[in-house]
Each structure stands twice: as C-alpha cells, then as structure tokens.
Amino acid sequence: MSTAVWHQIFNYDDYGQVLALVANSIVAAAVLGVVGGLISTFVLMRDLAFAVHGIAELSFAGAAAALLLGVNVVAGSLAGSVLAAAIIGALGVRARDRNSSIGVLMPFGLGLGVLFLSLYKGRAANKFGLLTGQIVAVDMPQTAWLIGVSVVVLLALAVVWRPLTFASLDPDVAAARGVPVRALSPVFTLVLGLAVATTIQIVGALLVLALVVTPAAAATRVTASPRLIPLLSVVFAVTSVVGGILIAVGGSIPISPYVTTIAFVIYLGCRVAGGVRTRNGWARRPAPAAG
C-alpha cells in the first residue's frame, strides 16, 4: 500500500521522455512565475491578498461555465476574473468595505463554479484541475493564450510601475504630485484579474495565493529594496512553479502541492533570515539619529 502511494508520488522511470512532453508547460509556467512574482509585489503593497482570493473564485466559476458550455476555458476564466475585478474595483478603495464585500462575493463564485462542474459530464480530471491545478502529464491547455495574456500583464505593469508604486505606498503625496491615484486602482485590479486567471490554469483557484502573494511576502521579509523585492519575488515564484512541475512529472498527482510546498518553504526561510536581519538592526547605521 505504502509503496503504491510512494510510486504515485515519485516515479522517475521515464523522466527524460516525460520532460520532453511537458516542455511547453515548463515554458508557460516560467512565464506565469514571472507574472506572479511581479504582481505579488503590488498585491502586497496594496494589501490585496484577500481580493486575489475573491477574484480566483469568480475566475473558477467562469472557467467551470466555459467547461460546461464547451468553450475556451482560459477565456471563461478571464471573463470571471475581469467581472470580479470590475466588481472589486467598483467597491472602492477602503480596505474594510472591500474585504467584507469580497467575503460575500467569494462563496457565491465558488458555489456557481460547483454548480457548473456538477452539471459537466466530461473528464473528472478537468473538473478537479480548475480547483487544485493541472496534472502535468495532461498537456497544458492553450499555452499560447496563457503567454499572450501574461505579456499583456507584463506590459501593463511596465507602464504603470512608478505611479502605481507611488499611489500604493504614499497615496496622499502621490495625489498631490499629480498621480491619478483613483484611476490607477481599477486599472491595477483589472491587471490583477488577468494575472489571476492565467495562474489558475496551473495551480488552480484554491492555491493561487501561493504564486500571487507568497513570493513577495517572502521577499519583503529579507529586503526593503524596491529593486531586490521584485527580483527575488520572481526568482521565488519561478522556482516554486517550475520546481513543482519538475517534481510532479515523476508522479500522477497535481503539481499544486509541490508548488505550494516549495513556496511555503521559501517563505519560512525568508522569515528566519529576516528575523536575524531585524535583530541585527537591519542596515548599518553609522551615526545615531538626531531625531
């Protein structure tokens, strides 16, 4: 029994051949890692972790509806995400109002998704995959779609990077300096919606946070540099998702447990390292502060 389970998790008999089959998936995963790593820095700055979860559930409902109707699953997932992003964007900027509304929205989205999935008569693996991630042995659907949407997200981030940072971290002064603080909020939520919709295709709706929150949360534990945080965050996200796939191809369980575990271990490591750094005073401080 236990050997059977073990064999299911780790089986590297034909590793080389399997790897060739999933090469596409690895490329797509690496791109999603870059997207997740970058977007997570803004999710953290704007305190939007809960919104990510809310968007993911509606995105899941959209994907489930697409599966039921036999149309493009990524498109369905995108439609759900964008709808959720529009609703959350319209809810306003204040975190307290936002969070309770997201809490209302989330179970509704999940419920809709469960309804659509139970009506769907296709392969069970497809159903399960939307919630907990794809089994890598199955060819990743619509790789081109994922990469296309990812490129859109990356371009959008590149354009709004500086004003979005300013508006997220220092909204009062940003507004006084002429940054369109209010307009940037729905813009970012929309970009976040696109990123979440694509990430769901790999790790599933329930585990999106591992790629869209954890990497930057880990990075900010060890550094406060605005250059290093996105860089580390991308490295962490890519390591988690590509590493997850490389391990998962040896077995027949979905990649998400591997991805989330790697991400979590990185986070733990960063917490420990950050704790040490904080105890040592974080940065060198030559002269005592005058005030």
Binding site: A158, W161, R162, D172, A176, T220, W282
Partner: protein, 288 residues
C-alpha cells in the same frame, strides 16, 4: 489685497533674525481672493483672502472639520474652489505642480512595507512619471543631497517602517523638497511626535524658509512649537476665519467670536493655552 501685511515675527525666539519676507510689493506665491469651499451643502469657509509671500510662515489653525486639509487640497488642485480665485505664482492651481511640496501627516508604516527612506524620497523625484524606475547615479546623488539637507542620510537605507516618527517626518520633508518648491504645504506634520521631535521638525522647516525663501503653510493642532515662528495665523472655525499676527488672532475675544461661544486664550511665558474650544467643529453653524 492690502488686508493684512505681515508684521515682524512677534514672539520669535531669535530676536534680530527676521524672516526674509519680501516687501509687500513682490508678487505673492499664493493668493486667495474671496475664496469659498463647499463640501456638499456645507460651506467650509467663504470670503477667504490670503496672500502668502516668499519665505513667509503661516500657521493654519482650527478645529477638525473646519476645512484646513481641504484648503491644502484646493491648493494642490485636488479640490476646486466653489467661488473666488486661487492663484499660485499668478496661475490657477495645477495637479502635480513643481511649485508645491506636500508633507502629509505622520502615519504608522507597517514594518515590512517595501520602502526605505531613500525610496520615499525617490518617489518624490520621479514616482509620478510612467514607466519603470530606472535610476542612474545622478538620481541617487540628488536623493542623498536631499537626505543630507534634512539630516536623514544616516538612515537612508533603513526601511521606513523601522524608523521613528520624527525620522519619518524628516524623510518626508526631504521628499517634499525634491522640486525645490516655492510653497511647502504641511498637513499636521507634528501629529504623534513628542515635543523634542516636534521642535526639531519645526526648526528644520524654519531654516529652510529662511535660507531658500520657501513659503510655508503649516496646518497644525500644536500651537506652541509653531506659533513662535509663525509670521501669521489663519484661524478657521465655524465657517469663519481670521488672519493676522499670532498676537492679534490668539486672543480670547477673537476666538470666542470665531467659535460663537466663550473661549479662553491663556498666554504664559510665550506659550498659548486655548480652553473651551471644541476639538471638532460640528456641522450646522457653518452656513454663511
């Protein structure tokens, strides 16, 4: 607009040192004429005339809700006046103007906020521009210069969340000085600082305006660190206002009139104590 010409700093702690205020002939860096601001039905203030000249330090006092912060928002172009005119260096206010530096209230910064002291200043330099933050050596030097000016270079690389309130406010001043502004708007920069740091921040601003002729509009609840340096006071309360030298405005009769009730101003050893003034001005009487 001959209304109130600033007289000599009345209770200045440094006798003989006079702020480099230009004669009343020089154009004002900021001028409000018959200005009125409404939020919904409520009139925050109306008929407001104020001219701010180079190097002048004007303290803006008054209870919560009297429209002090709204005045700053009008000046930075976030709120349009409902009547009257507002000119900054002779032109209407414009969002993101380089003529204005803005120092917000000190607010708690979460310890893992991804922002070091130098990054906050950097945001002031180019944070409002589109695109990626690709900075060069010149940018870094500029940030170092600004941090040096406010005495914050020692903790330039510390995360903002690990700095004390006073240190954070120094960094915020450096950020506000990025464009070498003609006007510094300060929105309660002393809030939640201890007296020692309050004085240090006020002195820093005072030095700046004397050395560079930067006009300072200083919104505050803390009278005593500020009034000895202020050339004039703008006191807002109950939809009414009074502009004048601290001595003229900070009297029992003037404040009682503004609040429409008995308010006692006690002066002792150059310090002011205001008794009987409500902390928050409740809406209602503000309709003029």
């Amino acid at each position: 607009m001959s209304a109130v010409s600033p007289n000599g700093a009345p209770v200045s702690g440094q006798p003989g040192v006079v702020a480099p205020r230009a004669a009343s002939g020089t154009p004002a860096v900021l001028s409000l004429t018959g200005a009125e601001l409404r939020r919904g039905e409520r009139v925050l203030w109306s008929g407001l005339d104020l001219e701010l000249r180079r190097g002048e330090f004007v303290a803006v006092l008054g209870p919560n809700g009297s429209g002090k912060t709204s005045l700053l928002h009008a000046i930075v172009g976030r709120l349009p006046l409902s009547a009257g005119t507002l000119l900054i260096d002779g032109r209407p206010p414009r969002r993101g103007s380089d003529l204005i530096g803005y120092i917000p209230q000190q607010r708690a910064v979460a310890p893992h906020t991804p922002l070091r002291a130098r990054d906050l200043v950097r945001l002031g330099v180019d944070g409002h521009r589109w695109g990626l933050p690709l900075g060069g050596r010149r940018l870094r030097r500029r940030v170092d210069e600004l941090l040096t000016e406010v005495g914050a270079l020692a903790y330039a690389d510390m995360p903002l969340g690990l700095l004390s309130g006073g240190e954070q406010q120094r960094v915020r001043i450096a950020q506000a000085l990025v464009t070498d502004p003609a006007i510094l708007l300060c929105d309660e920069p002393l809030l939640s600082l201890d007296p020692h740091h309050q004085n240090a921040i006020v002195e820093l601003l005072d030095r700046r305006r004397r050395a560079h002729g930067t006009a300072v509009l200083f919104v505050t609840h803390e009278l005593n660190p500020v009034l000895p340096l202020a050339d004039r006071v703008l006191y807002l309360a109950g939809g009414r206002f009074r502009v004048g030298a601290p001595d003229e405005v900070m009297t029992s009769s003037v404040l009682s009139e503004l609040y429409g009730g008995q308010v006692e101003v006690i002066r002792s050893h150059g310090r002011y104590l205001v008794a009987g003034a409500p902390v928050t001005y409740a809406a209602g009487g503000a309709r003029s």
